[in-house]
Subunit: 151 residues, 2 copies
């Protein structure tokens, strides 16, 4: 029996989350893909950079927009290991990300299927297609392990 293979961008996002954990950052990773090509990637880095906005999604979106020379990422996908928070969901709207894939849901901090449900607001200017759950076991294990070690 073989385990189902995760799509490559989610595998990469999980590897980035592992890199974050090794640096003492909350383990979340994100990858921006366009037409099958990786445009940008990042892991969570607020502690290292003294930047409260340095979530993996924000960094990956900023790098992708820089790389493409365009503040709109309409034909891009964002792959991330955890449900985006309100800040990151808002950035996804501003960047006009076409498709969002996230692994684990986040009842405490998420703002897609939880909390502020940013994309469900009537005023929301752009709604990405959202797919969740693939890789959620690995993503959640990483987070649980990280916080357990620190307790």
């Amino acid at each position: 029996m073989s385990a189902w293979t995760l799509p490559q961008p989610m595998n990469r996002a999980l590897a980035l989350a592992e890199e974050a954990a090794a640096l003492g950052e909350v383990p979340v990773g994100a990858v921006v893909v366009r037409g099958g090509e990786v445009i940008a990637e990042a892991h969570n880095a607020p502690r290292e950079t003294h930047d409260p906005t340095a979530h993996a999604e924000i960094l990956a979106i900023r790098r992708a927009a820089q790389a493409l020379g365009d503040e709109r990422l309409t034909d891009c996908e964002l792959w991330v290991t955890l449900e985006p928070c309100a800040m990151c969901a808002g950035a996804i709207v501003h960047a006009r990300i076409g498709k969002l894939y996230y692994a684990a849901s986040d009842p405490k901090g998420g703002a897609v299927e939880n909390g502020a449900r940013v994309f469900e607001q009537p005023q929301c200017l752009h709604r990405p297609e959202v797919y969740s759950g693939m890789g959620e076991g690995r993503a959640a294990d990483l987070l649980r392990g990280f916080f357990k070690e620190r307790r």
Copy 2:
């Protein structure tokens, strides 16, 4: 008769919004203050920088955190000319901003008293004190003038 004088940080935020308009950016300005001292300031700059996250608040928060070498801005105030969006409200939470002052409300894009109402979510980890309205006339005039010229 004398017009009521706006507090200096809001005056500065409005001047920054005017600078943004002159550069073709949506006119919003923001200032971070601690103990009466300006720590950081910024105007909206997503077009100039090809960065969809480059709202005035995000830039001012990032600069303040860099200046203080700390991702937490607990004893800081954020003064901004427009009601923050979901992205910026989320950043305010992550940065633990103590007090938020904003001029004009934003029924279309705001997420404090409108839309996602980020600080009112039960899961919200930090709620700044919020004061709104001072300077709202000037802030709203700037925005109206900007969008009227572009129509």
